[in-house]
Amino acid sequence: MVDPANTKLGRMLLDEITPAVMVLRTPLVEESCRKNGLSLIEMLTPFCNFINIDVPVRTANDQPYRLRKFKLRLFYSAEIRQPNIEVAKERLKQVITHAGDKDITDLCSDAPEIESLIATSEQDFVPSWFPVFNKELIDAVSFSEHEAFDHPVACLVAVSSRDKDPIDKFVDLFNTNQLPSLLNDGAMDPKILKYFLLVHDNQDGMLEKATGILTEMRNTFGANDCRLLCINSSTDDTEEHQENPWAYYKNNASNDQQFGCLLSVDDIEELRNTMQDFSSKHIIPQMELKIRLLNQQVSATRKGFRNQIKNLWWRKGKEDPPENPNSQVYTFSSTEYQIRVLGDYAFMLRDYELALSNYRLISTDYKLDKAWKHYAGVQEMMGLAYFMLDQSRKDAEYCMENAFITYSKLGSAGRRNATRCGIWWAEMLKARDQYKDAAGVYFRISGEEPLHSAVMLEQASYCYLLSTPNMLRKYGFHLVLSGDLYKECDQIKHAIRTYRSALSVFKGTTWSHIRDHVHFHIGKWYALLGMFDEAIKHVLEVLACGHQSEATQELFMRDFFRIIKETGKTFEVLRLQLPIINFPLTKVVFEDHRTYASPAAASIRENVWQSLEEDMVPSLSAVKTNWLESQPKVLPKKYKESNVCVSGVSPMRSMSWAFIGVRSRVVELRREGAEAIKVGVSFKNPLQIPLSVSNISLICEHSVEFEETESDANGSLIDNQNDKELRTVSISGDFSLETSLFTLSEVGISMRRGETILVQLTVTPKIEGILRIVGVRWKLSGSVVGICKFNSDIIRKRVAKGKRKPKQVKDNLHFLVIKSLPRLEGVIHDLPKTVYAGDLRRLTLELRNPSKISVKNLKMRVSHPRFLNLADQEVMDSEFPTCLRKQANSSKSCTEVDVARAANSIFMFPETTTISWEKPLMWPLWFRAAAAGSISLYITIYYEMEDGSMVITYRTLRMHYNLEVLPSLEVSFQTSPCPSRLQEFLVRMDVINRTSAETFQVHQLSCVGDQWDLALLQPVESVCPLEFLMAGQALSCFFKLKKRKTQGSAEDNISSLATSGRADVRLGDDDSRGLFDTTISPLLLFHHHEKVHQERLEKEHGSTVDFILLSESRSDSDAGLPRTKEVFSYHACHCRIASTSPIWWLINGPRSVRHDFSASFCEINLTMTLHNSSEVAVSVRVNTLDSTPLVSLVSSTASSVSGNELGWHDISNLSDLKVTSDVMGTRTGRVTLPPESVSPFIWSGSSSTRLNLDPLSSAEVPLQICVFSPGTFDLSNYTLQWNIVSSNDGGEENGSRVSSGTCQGHSYHITVLQKE
C-alpha cells in the first residue's frame, strides 16, 4: 500500500484542505503588482507552497513532530463567500468546451483498439482535463459555513507605501464592511490573526519613507506582525527568471508580457522569505496555539464520562431543532463549532488522530441535533481522516457513504456537497484499486445536471475499464450513456469522443440494436460537425438494418440521404450494404470455344454437354498442347489459367476461352461480332421500405498489353483504389471513357420490400487484351454510388472436371480478350413445343456464320437420335410428306441403315460443307416423337476454323430444346400361329387413341423386312368403318402374316394374297395417295433406333417381326385453315410370332368413374375373364402388385428432363427395370403413361388368386381397386403366372412351347373423376 499522502486523493487533500488566508489590500498595492502582470495573490501564491518547510509542530499531545509539506491558500476578501452557482456552472461548461476543442484533432482517426487501450496506462487514455473539472466542482462548494477548513486562519493586510496614511489604511481595510459574511455573521471567529504587510514599489524610490512607515506600524500593531515587502527593484523590464514561478498563469494571460519582469532575484527572495516567515512564525504557531486551547476547552467540557452524560442529557432535553438547521445554530462561540475547528486545524496540521477523535465526538452531536449538513460534513472529514491514517478501510468507506447519502437526502441544498463527497469517495476507492466500486460511485454522482452527469459517467466508464477484470461492456455502456448526455448539452465533440471509444467495444458486435444505435448516432453527430466523410462511414454501417422496425429504417435512410445531400457531392462507397449482393448467386457467363444458341442452352450443366461432345471434340490436353505448339506467343503460359472471353469490333474480332467451370449462362449480346460476358448479380433488399437502384453496371479493367503486371497503365479505365473506402467521382466522365474499350450495360431496378432481384449485367470488350471484371457499381436512390468488388474468393465456383487443378479456379473474372473467331448461330426451324407421340416431321436446321472467316469440318451430335436425325440434303428439295410415299420407280438404294453411323450418332457433314459469311446453311432434319413424356433435346455442332492461325481451332455450338410429347395412338400386336398352315400367322393389331381430342386416320401397316407378307383378313371397310379413329376410340383388326419361302418365289406369294403390297397394308380406304415407303430414310432410320431401343426386351432368339403403323392426323373440321396432314409412325419391334402363353385374359369394368372423394376413397370393382386357349389344363395365378413401375417411369423421365441426370439418356430404359428376366410375355409395345396418371391406387382385393382352368374354358376372377384421388390410372401392374398342370405331350415339338410362364398385365386405363 502506498502512502496515502502520495495517492491522488492524498495529494488532492494536501492541496485543498490547507489553511486559507484572507488578503486585504489597497488599490495601490494592486497597481504595483500589476506592473508585473500579476495580482498580489498571483505574485504571492508560488511562494505559499512549501515543499519542505520543516517546522516542528506540537499539537494536543506533547510529542512534537515536524511538518514537511505545507501550503497556504490565499483569497481576497471578496472571494471568501460561497461561489455563485451560475458562475460556477459557466466555468464548468467552459472547462468542458475548452477540453472538447482541444482534442478535435484526433476525432477523425480511428478508434483505438480496445486491447491496446487496456495495455496502456491510465494516464494515456483518461482525458487529462478530468482533474481540472473535478477541482472546479469541488471549488464550487468552498467556503460553506458548516466546514471550518475553508475559513481563513489569518488575514494578510497589504498597504502600499504610496498610500496616504498607511496606518489608517490598515485599520480601515479591516474594519470596513467589505469583510466576508462568514466573519460578519458570526459563522467564524472574527478575531483572527492579522499580518501587516507594507508593499513598497522600488520604482517609486523613497525607501526611507517606507521604513519610516514600517517603524510606525511596528509601534502600532506590534513588532512581529509587520513587514516591509519591496518589489519592482529591477530597473529594466527585461528581467528573466530561470524558473519562472508564475509560468502557470501564462496560459490564462493572452499578452506576451513577461511575468514578474520587474522582480529582481532579490525581490523574489524577499517574497519567499516573507511567506515563509508568515507561515512558520505566525500561522502555524497560531494554529498550534488554537488547537491546544480548544483541546483544553473541549476536554474540559466534553471529554470524560461526566461530561458525556451531561452532554447527552442536555441534548436530549433540548427542544426540537430549529426550523432552519442551516441558520446560525452553531456560532463561532458554540462548542460544536469549536470542536469542528479543532478537528479541521488538526487535519490541516496532519494530526489526523486528533482530528478524527474530534470529528467523532462532534458527529454524534450533530446527529442528535439533526443538523444533517454538518453531520455529513463531519462524516466526510472522518472518512478522509481514516483514509489519510490508512486504517480501517471499511470505516472510511462507511463514513464516505454515510456522508454521501446524507448530503443526497438534503436535496438540492446538499447536491453539490454530495458531488464533492462523491469525487473524494471515488478517488479514495480508486486509490485502493476498487475501480468497480468507484465506477458505481461516479454513477451515483451523476444527477440531474446533464453536463456533470456526462463527465461523471465518462469517469465511471474509465473505472470499469481499469477494474480487474476489465468490464468492457460496462465501459461501453457508460460511455454511450455519457455521450447521450454530452449531446444533450450540445457538447457534440465530447459526445463523438465517447461514442468512438465505445465503438471499440461494440465493434463487430452481433447485438444489432446496439450496433445500429452507436453507428447511427455517431454518424449523425459527425454530420452536425460537418465531417461528412466520417458521418457517411458510420451511417453506412446501419443501412442494412432489416431487423429494425419500418419507422427506424425510414429514419436511417432519411438521415443518410440528408447527410449525402448536405455534402453536395456524389459519393462512391465501397461496401455499400444496400442492397445486399448475394455472392454465391453471382454467375459469370461467357463464351469461349463453347457457344450457345440460346440462354436456355447456356443454363444446362456443363457436364451434360461434355458427355455429348466427348467423342467429337479433341480432348482438352491435346487441345492445350496444340495451342502451345502453334501459338506460343499469343498465349503466355499464365493466361492459360485465366478465363477467356470473346469480344471484338468489326475489323478485329476477338475471342477468348476459359478453363473454369462456373455454372455459366450466356446471353446473346451481339454487336458486330463482339461477344458479351454476362454476370448475374443478385441484389437483395433487406429493408421493409422500397429501394430504387439505378445505373447498375459492372466495373471492368481493360489492359491492352499482355504484360505481367496487371496494373494497367494506359488501358485502365477505373483507377483501382482498393484502400479508399470513399471517394468522390463524377460518374458521367468515367463512363464515357469506358465505352472506347468495352461496353457496359446499365440496368435500373426498383426493389420492393425484402425483394431479391437477379440482375444480368454485360460487358462487351471491343479490343484485344486482358479484361478483368473488378466489381459492380450501382446508384442508390440517385445519390449514392455503391461499389462492390468481386474478390475471387467470395465467388464460389465449382470445378467442373476433376482434372482441373484447384489453383486454376482462382481467377475466374480474369479474361483474355483475343481476336474474334467465327461463331455459328444455329436454329432449328419449326420445332414444335408439343407433339403427339409418333409424329414424324421434317425440320430445317439453319446454321449462320456472321463472321467473314468460314468454318469447316462440321460435325453434329444429337442427344436423342430416336427423336431427331439428320436427313440427306436432297430431302431439302423434295416435298414432305409426299417424299415418303412410294414412288413408282422405287429404288432400294438405301435399305440398309448405316448402323455404325446410327450407333454413335455423330453426323459428319460432307467435307465440302463450309459455311461462309452470311450464307446460311440449311440442312434437313428428321424428327419423330418417339415416346411420350418431356424430352430435352441437346444438339451440339462442332466446327473448325478455316483459318488455322486462330487461337482456338474449334468451337461448338450448343442447342437445347425442350418438348412435350403427348401420347397418341397406342398400338399392340398379338401374333399367334395359324393352326392350319405352316409359317402363317394371325396378327391382331389393337390400336387405341389415347389423345383427348385428336382424330387420327390409320393409314398403313407395314412389316419391316423382305421375308414377310402381310394381308388384311377382312376388307378395309369392315375394319375401319368410320375411317377415322376418334379420341378414345379403339380399333382392332386382324392380319395374316406369311413368311416368304424364298426370294425367288416372292411374286407368287404376292399374287396369292388378297390385296396389293407385299409388306404394306393400306388400312384407310382413301386411294388417292400412295403408300408410304418404309424402306426410305426417315422411317427406316427411326425404325432402326426403335429396334435398338426395344431390343433388350427380347433376350431369347426366335423369329420376330417388326411392324410399322403409319397414320395421319385429321384436322378438326371447324379449324379455319386446313392444317397440313401430319404423319405419325408407330413402331412395334420384335413381336414374337408365336405366343407362348396359353391364356388370354381381359379385364372388364368401368372406364370412367365419378366419385366424391371428400366422403371416402373410391372402390372400383372389376372382373377379369380368363380363357385357356391351350389344350391342356392350366393353373393360373393372378398377382396384383401395388408398386407401380410405370409411375416410376414417369417420375424418372421428369427428373431427367429437369437436368438432374448427367448426360442424355434413354428414358425407356428405366421404365423397364421392373420387367426383368422372367418376362416371357408377349407384350412388347409398351406404353408410356401420360404424366397425369401418376396418382397411386391400390389393389384391395386378394393380392394373389389361383385357379385352374380346364382346356378351352373360361373363368372370371373378381378384382377390386381403391383409388384415393381423381386421375387416370393404368391397371397394368399385375402379373399372371401360368403353369401347365399336366403336360401329356412329352416331347415338345414346338421350341417356343414351355410349361410355365409369367405374363405382364395389359394396360387398362380407368379414369376417376371427382363428383361435383
Partner: protein, 136 residues
C-alpha cells in the same frame, strides 16, 4: 399493472440468439436498444458471478435505474436474460422451465442448429410471448 421486460437468450461469445420484448407497456421506440445496452453491460457482471456461485439463477444481478436484470445461466453458459422493471418471481419460475424448453429445442435442432445462430422458430416465440402475457 404496466411492466416491460426484455427476454434474451445469449449464447457463448455474447451472441444473442433469441430476443423478445414482452410486457404490457406499449413499445417505445428506443426501448429495444436500451434493453440491449443494459443486458449487454450486465454480461460483465454475469461473467464474474457465474464462476463464483453455484446457483444457476442469478436474481437481480444488475440494475440500471428501475430496470433489473436477472439471469439464468445454464451449465453450458448459455444465458437467458430477463430485464424488467417489476420482479415477478413467477415469471422467472416459468423462465426456468423455459430454459429446459430451450435445451430441448436445441437438442431437437441439434443436427441443424449451429451454435450461435439465431433461434428463428416461431413456435418458440409464441410460447415465450404467451407465458409472458400470463405472468406479466
Amino acid at each position: 399493472m404496466a411492466s416491460t421486460a426484455c427476454f434474451m437468450i445469449v449464447s457463448k461469445n455474447d451472441i444473442p440468439i433469441y430476443e423478445a420484448e414482452v410486457g404490457t407497456v406499449p413499445k417505445k421506440e428506443d426501448a429495444a436498444h436500451q434493453h440491449q445496452f443494459i443486458l449487454h453491460a450486465a454480461l460483465d457482471i454475469v461473467q464474474d458471478m457465474a464462476w463464483t456461485t453455484s446457483a444457476m439463477f442469478l436474481k437481480a444481478i444488475d440494475r440500471f435505474n428501475d430496470l433489473v436484470v436477472s439471469v439464468y445461466v445454464t451449465a453450458g453458459h448459455i444465458l437467458s436474460f430477463v430485464s424488467t422493471d417489476l420482479m415477478l418471481s413467477l415469471f422467472f419460475l416459468r423462465i426456468y422451465t423455459y430454459e429446459k424448453r430451450v435445451n430441448i429445442l436445441q437438442t431437437l435442432l441439434n443436427p441443424l442448429y449451429l451454435p450461435g445462430s439465431r433461434i428463428t422458430s416461431s413456435h418458440f416465440d409464441t410460447k415465450v410471448r404467451a407465458l409472458a402475457r400470463k405472468y406479466l
